[in-house]
């Protein structure tokens, strides 16, 4: 078999032989959905000139106009009565776990990114791209200030005519809780577990920045490159995105708001040894 499915009563997801997501199926809608990791290489600039600063802690300034991709392989597909998972790892220190819990209306992507290898002298910025066949006409929505969701249009600003010298970074916006795109039929929302940056650089795609390791300071004040290590290796980040699919006409704001709060305020979990406490006594 060269395809695998994760499914519950609300949702079905198709994965190809390398473990990559290809389709999402709701009971009445099927659409293409891929979740792939890429990396941008950081620009090395001339910090004495404001328009030529390096990519650093304050600014995202990629060197290329297309990100670099990775090779993937499926490394596991546990299935049971509580959760179905698909494990995928790449050749560039990225691992992801797609999870669908029994009864859940949302789909969860848990990722482990890093340590980022900079032995080639290149600083790198890792992103995830959700690629769909939705026709969003360059329109996407972000809740940049955490209070209201604003409409964003690729290569446009509502107040003035825009010519972007940096087409990638110039279309990145802050994401506090969510970013979404939609067409006439479907809305695809990505809920983040922390504030991140992202945009919709290509038709039907959502891109979110996950992890960065850069070798040059950007001259905005920190005075250090964004190059943190632990135990001699670059940092590893582990995070989670929750993907929520809905009909474009459907008002699911309350469900989404609750899901966001559940993501940010999960139950506090404590564990205690019970070696002197038998089940019957408990």
């Amino acid at each position: 078999d060269d395809e695998t499915y994760l499914e519950n009563e609300h949702l079905k997801l198709r994965f190809d032989s390398s473990g990559l997501l290809t389709h999402a199926m709701l009971p009445d809608i099927t659409f293409n959905l891929a979740a792939q990791f890429y990396y941008w290489t950081g620009c090395v600039g001339n910090n004495t000139s404001p328009s030529e600063r390096s990519s650093g802690a304050y600014i995202f300034r990629p060197k290329t106009t297309r990100p670099f991709d990775m090779k993937y392989r499926s490394v596991g597909n546990p299935k049971g009565n509580v959760v179905h998972e698909m494990w995928v790892e790449s050749d560039k220190n990225v691992g992801s776990i797609a999870r669908l819990y029994n009864g859940s209306k949302v789909f969860e992507l848990d990722f482990v990114v890093g340590p980022i290898d900079v032995s080639d002298g290149e600083g790198k910025e890792y992103v995830i791209r959700y690629e769909t066949n939705l026709l969003n006409n360059g329109i996407f929505y972000t809740d940049s200030n955490g209070r209201q969701t604003l409409k964003r249009v690729l290569n446009k600003r509502p107040q003035w005519n825009l010519t972007l010298e940096e087409p990638i970074a110039g279309n990145y916006y802050p994401i506090t809780n969510e970013i979404y795109i939609e067409d006439n039929e479907v809305r695809v929302s990505i809920l983040t577990d922390r504030s991140q940056g992202g945009g919709s650089l290509e038709e039907g795609a959502i891109e979110v920045m996950l992890h960065r390791r850069l070798l040059h300071d950007d001259a905005f004040g920190v005075g250090e490159a964004l190059n943190e290590t632990a135990k001699g290796a670059g940092l590893v980040m582990r995070g989670k995105h929750v993907l929520l699919f809905s009909n474009a006409s459907e008002n699911n704001d309350e469900f989404k708001a609750k899901t966001i709060l559940e993501l940010h305020l999960p139950p506090v979990v404590f564990v205690a040894d019970a070696k002197h406490l038998q089940y019957e006594e408990w």
């Binding site: 049971g80 819990y101 709060l261 205690a272 040894d273 070696k275």
Partner: protein, 274 residues
């Protein structure tokens, strides 16, 4: 209040724009980390004391539980991975019911999870992928996670008892039938069913609202399929199943018919589009 104020103070410091965005110098980042970690460690004593009060332990006796927090973000927990039986206590800080998937790092084995009412609940032992096990800073022997779904009340506390069984290993414990994408209704006492137009055999009597519990049944579901939206599919309480001619339909007959159809055609899903 002393330890709580320490945490409040640390959280205040973390509102600084450099702490929020990560534009602080590295030695400042380490200092922030130290301040926040110490404040969290110290203030967790409040939760530990509160939980032991809930289990009504006399003040002069040692606490029943020495609660610990684990590093779930790297799937490690020193306590659960070496213990054969432990208690997992959860506090839901939100003002509504939540269904939270709990993932507890453990060694490989067979585990049973007991809900607060003493009943064993569904749990699953899931391996930890190598890309998590190999995180350079991870110091853990845990190879698996016990996963179960905790239903928590608004701002409620619940404890679950997890016990490692001394039996042959098994990947999962199945207590309930798991409903699949194409199983939308159950047959049994107070049967509930989801209407689907393309099955002329079923005729609803009256409607009711969906409940999560309806989707989980101990009765084997019958494979049916609908290409209608889940939202437009209303669950229906049925007193009697009727066929297209209005005659009462025997449940076993319905089960046989649908099974026969599924065997002939296989489960039906929406067509994939390229």
């Amino acid at each position: 209040m002393f330890v709580l104020n320490e945490l409040k103070s640390a959280m205040g410091m973390m509102q600084h724009h450099d702490a929020v965005t990560g534009t602080e110098k590295q030695h400042v980042a380490h200092d922030y980390e130290r301040i926040l970690h110490e404040a969290l460690e110290d203030s967790s004593i409040i939760a530990k004391q509160a939980f032991n009060k809930i289990v009504q332990r006399d003040g002069d006796k040692p606490p029943l539980f020495q609660y610990e927090r684990c590093s779930f973000n790297e799937s490690s927990c020193d306590l659960t991975e070496r213990s054969d039986q432990f208690v997992v206590t959860l506090y839901n800080p939100l003002g509504w019911k939540v269904k939270y998937p709990v993932r507890v790092p453990v060694m490989e084995g067979t585990y049973t999870v007991y809900a607060p009412n003493g009943e064993a609940i569904d749990s699953q032992l899931v391996g930890i992928p190598d890309f998590v096990k190999n995180i350079p800073t991870r110091e853990s022997n845990a190879t698996h996670e016990v996963v179960f779904l905790a239903h928590l009340h608004p701002m409620g506390v619940k404890s679950f008892y997890v016990k490692r069984e001394k039996k042959e290993k098994r990947e999962s414990k199945m207590n309930d039938y798991y409903l699949h994408f194409n199983d939308y209704f159950k047959i049994g006492d107070n049967a509930k069913m989801v209407e689907f137009e393309n099955n002329p055999m079923l005729k609803p009597v009256f409607k009711s609202n969906y409940e999560d519990n309806d989707l989980k049944t101990k009765e084997p579901g019958i494979g049916v399929n609908s290409e209608k939206s889940m939202n437009s599919m209303k669950p229906i309480d049925i007193d009697v199943l009727k066929d297209k001619d209005g005659d009462n339909l025997d449940i076993e007959e319905l089960r046989r018919l649908v099974d026969e159809r599924d065997r002939a055609t296989g489960p039906k899903f929406p067509e994939l589009s390229d």
